[in-house]
């Protein structure tokens, strides 16, 4: 089914819905009681990917927008509204499970109701009821972990329901770290908001800055110079390598393999230093700005960096060869924390985690942006969905990224790295494949180029939503391992 057939289908089933097709987009506006049906059709029959839920408020109306990626990766928006005097929507999450957390968040933040949603209430501020137990067995109890736990860990709370050794289910509670970044952005200049975008997750700052800048640039119609486009790819892939090294280090540490963890840690620090040497900042803050880059990177410095990264990858491969021969290590990863393909799809999971479960989605291929249409990266995928499959994906992506870094450099050519962005009012959505997966940035700016609305659908949010599917029926001591193989950020999810 392509997008025009899909539009016809919707029109046939829901004649009252008004449709508007643009280039690579389809906007559907409908009554709130029709929205669940439309979303059901999109998600379950047309197999569109659910990206997230955006919202807005006018004088006396609240509206919500369900965002999908169409069969040809078009943006499909399903918009519906209600009067503020009647703040009730109909939940779509029965049909589109991926929307479950988004509706809970919207319900809490907007103070609206989603009729038919199984669990609404206090999602963000933690004043809600004590946890409910589902297990009715002798000795069953809930083991709380966090928000302050382990050695160095982001603040998050888990409830592990257990009868002793075996954990039956896990409920993560997020939003301790909610900084309200999206609200803070409102009213700031578009140039200042990129600084906020970088800090959704500091360890993947470049990708988020890129997503935000792409949205702003497409509003103003800016042509980013070719050199900047490819240097951005260069930086983004370097970031992916650095991020994945951190995850692999965490996985080794969680299984108690001290030497391996230290070995990878050495490479991780070296990657940080390379980034620091090239961009001035160990996490690449301040590099990506609307219109291009804040600094031209000298070719020889970039080349040195690629060679150094190649060396890192070579040494990493040495470690990998040892790891796959270390049975005590493999025993702790294989068949642990399994995410099935069905679960991944239902929960709208993204990134390396989805790709380890047979969902081979990567927007660098499916919706190529800045330079990736030329580079056409290979997308490594695995099927098993267990901890080991995820580890293999992380390894494979690192290898792929070094190739991309080098090719980006070859393509960069000479020229400027910045072009002026002309202020223009508008709203755009941009997708980037951040190291943790698909990140969607939606930005609206006014004529003065101040941000009026900003919403981010982050990969960590989507993947935390599905985390519980991997953390069911396991032994206590596997919990840190499952956590490590997910490699998620809390800050990015809490925002």
């Amino acid at each position: 089914m392509d997008i025009s057939q899909l539009a016809e289908n919707i029109h046939e089933f829901f004649p009252a819905a008004s449709l508007f097709s643009g280039p690579e987009s389809l906007n559907i506006t409908c009554d709130k009681n029709v929205a669940p049906g439309v979303c059901d059709l999109l998600f379950n029959r047309a197999h569109c990917f659910f990206m997230g839920l955006d919202w807005g408020q006018q004088a006396d109306e609240i509206h919500v927008i369900y965002l999908f990626l169409g069969p040809g990766n078009e943006y499909i928006e399903v918009q519906t509204g209600t009067k503020k005097t009647d703040p009730v929507f109909y939940s779509v999450s029965q049909a589109v499970h991926a929307a479950d957390w988004y509706e809970r968040e919207a319900a809490h933040v907007l103070g609206v109701d989603f009729t038919g949603h199984p669990k609404l209430g206090d999602f963000v501020t933690h004043n809600d009821q004590p946890p409910t137990r589902v297990l009715d067995a002798e000795g069953a109890f809930i083991m709380p972990i966090g928000p302050v736990f382990s050695g160095v860990a982001e603040s998050i709370h888990f409830r592990l329901e257990t009868i002793g050794e075996e954990v039956i289910r896990t409920v993560p509670k997020l939003f301790y770290k909610r900084r309200n970044i999206e609200d803070l952005a409102v009213g700031r200049t578009s140039g200042d908001v990129v600084l906020l975008a970088e800090r959704f997750a500091g360890t993947t700052a470049i990708s988020h800055a890129l997503g935000y800048c792409m949205a702003v640039e497409s509003i103003s119609g800016t042509d980013v110079p070719k050199r900047a486009v490819f240097l951005r790819v260069f930086l983004a892939e370097m970031e992916r390598i650095r991020h994945h090294l951190g995850v692999i280090e965490g996985i080794c540490a969680s299984t108690g393999l001290g030497v391996a963890a230290s070995q990878v840690a050495v490479l991780h620090e070296e990657a940080l230093r390379i980034t620091g040497t090239v961009t001035g900042h160990r996490y690449g803050f301040g590099m990506v700005v609307p219109g291009g880059l804040s600094l031209d990177l000298p070719d020889d410095a970039c080349l040195t960096a690629v060679n150094q990264v190649d060396d890192i990858v070579k040494r990493l491969e040495g470690i990998e060869r040892l790891l796959v021969k270390t049975t005590t290590f493999l025993d702790r990863l294989e068949d642990v924390g399994v995410v099935t393909k069905t679960d991944a799809l239902e929960h709208g999971m993204v990134g390396p985690i989805a790709r380890a479960s047979g969902v081979c989605a990567d927007c660098r291929r499916s919706k190529p942006y800045g330079g990736y249409d030329v580079l056409r990266p290979e997308i490594p995928c695995e099927q098993e969905g267990d901890g080991f499959a995820r580890l293999r994906v992380f390894f494979a992506e690192i290898r792929q990224s070094t190739v991309l870094m080098r090719r980006a450099l070859e393509n960069a050519g000479a020229g400027p790295v910045f072009s002026r962005v002309t202020p223009k009012a508008g709203m755009k959505t941009a997708c980037v494949e951040s190291p943790r997966g698909l990140a969607v940035h939606r930005v609206r700016v006014d004529a003065d180029f101040r941000v009026q609305h900003y919403r981010v659908f982050s990969p960590s949010f989507a993947n935390w939503h599905g985390f519980h599917t991997a953390a069911e029926d396991f032994a206590f001591q596997d919990f840190p391992i499952i956590l490590a193989t997910f490699g998620l950020s809390v800050a990015e999810s809490d925002r």
């Binding site: 501020t125 933690h126 928000p147 302050v148 736990f149 382990s150 050695g151 160095v152 860990a153 982001e154 603040s155 939003f175 301790y176 770290k177 909610r178 900084r179 970044i181 803070l184 200042d192 600084l195 906020l196 800090r199 959704f200 997750a201 500091g202 360890t203 700052a205 951190g246 393999l257 030497v259 391996a260 230290s262 070995q263 840690a265 050495v266 991780h268 620090e269 940080l272 230093r273 390379i274 980034t275 620091g276 040497t277 001035g280 900042h281 160990r282 996490y283 803050f285 301040g286 700005v289 804040s294 600094l295 040495g318 470690i319 040892l322 021969k325 270390t326 950020s489 800050a491 990015e492």
Partner: protein
């Protein structure tokens, strides 16, 4: 297993010579501006008002490089890391010089500060050799390191953690967010409004060596930076 032992031995020692010697490797620090500017356009362009006439409020700087790059100002830049400011009267007495336990608390950081704190256990920095240990329990901790802007939900958690620690205890604020809310600039209280901060480590994020400097300063093994505490 023996394969791993061999692998470890082959790698040799990579650990920094700091604090015994100097560390000058490239990429160890994002740096901070040393001295300000009198150019009003540059001062106005700083997103966190870290610059005023000729001066730098380093605890605010978020390393956006806007002054130096977009504005093209020739800023004097400190590529070092000995930035920690310490309250003289807070320096820990001698018994703490050999083993100090640290609890790390993330009060709403973006992940970068935490990542740099994690690097402290990295063979490159190996803070164990200096007698610093990260502990999972506040009951055993002598020092609390706080990173991030203090979110509403984390504030009670922060208070509980602090109260659970035995005295004497010290508080280290890591990074622009914990010091001044950094780029977020909320009007909610910063850490020093809530609890007595003994060491302030600026940077966004402060590199691992800056944090080590802070730890050495609070145990009296290195002098603190002579920048004034804001």
């Amino acid at each position: 297993m023996s394969r791993w032992a061999l692998k470890g031995l082959k790698t040799g020692v990579v650990t920094t010579s700091y604090p015994g010697g100097d560390e000058r490797a490239s990429g160890i620090s994002p740096g901070l501006p040393v001295s300000g500017t009198t150019n009003q356009a540059v001062i106005a362009a700083c997103p966190v008002h870290a610059l005023d006439n000729g001066g730098v409020r380093r605890n605010r700087c978020i390393d956006c490089y806007r002054c130096a790059r977009t504005q093209g100002e020739n800023m004097a830049w400190d590529r070092g890391f000995e930035w920690a400011q310490v309250k003289k009267e807070a320096v820990l007495p001698a018994p703490f010089k050999h083993a100090v336990n640290i609890r790390v608390l993330d009060a709403g950081d973006c992940g970068a500060c935490l990542s740099e704190i994690e690097q402290l256990n990295n063979p490159y920095y190996n803070m164990h050799r200096l007698g610093f240990f990260i502990t999972p329990t506040p009951r055993k901790a002598d020092i609390l390191i706080v990173a991030g802007t203090i979110t509403k939900q984390m504030r009670p958690v922060l208070m509980k953690t602090w109260e659970a620690m035995p005295t004497p205890k010290r508080l280290i604020a890591v990074g622009a967010c914990a010091l001044t809310h950094g780029v977020f600039g909320q009007d909610s209280p910063v850490l020093s409004d809530i609890l007595p901060v003994d060491v302030a480590i600026p940077g966004c994020p402060p590199p691992p060596l800056a944090i080590i400097h802070g730890l050495l300063a609070i145990t009296g093994r290195k002098p603190g930076s002579d920048w004034e505490v804001e």
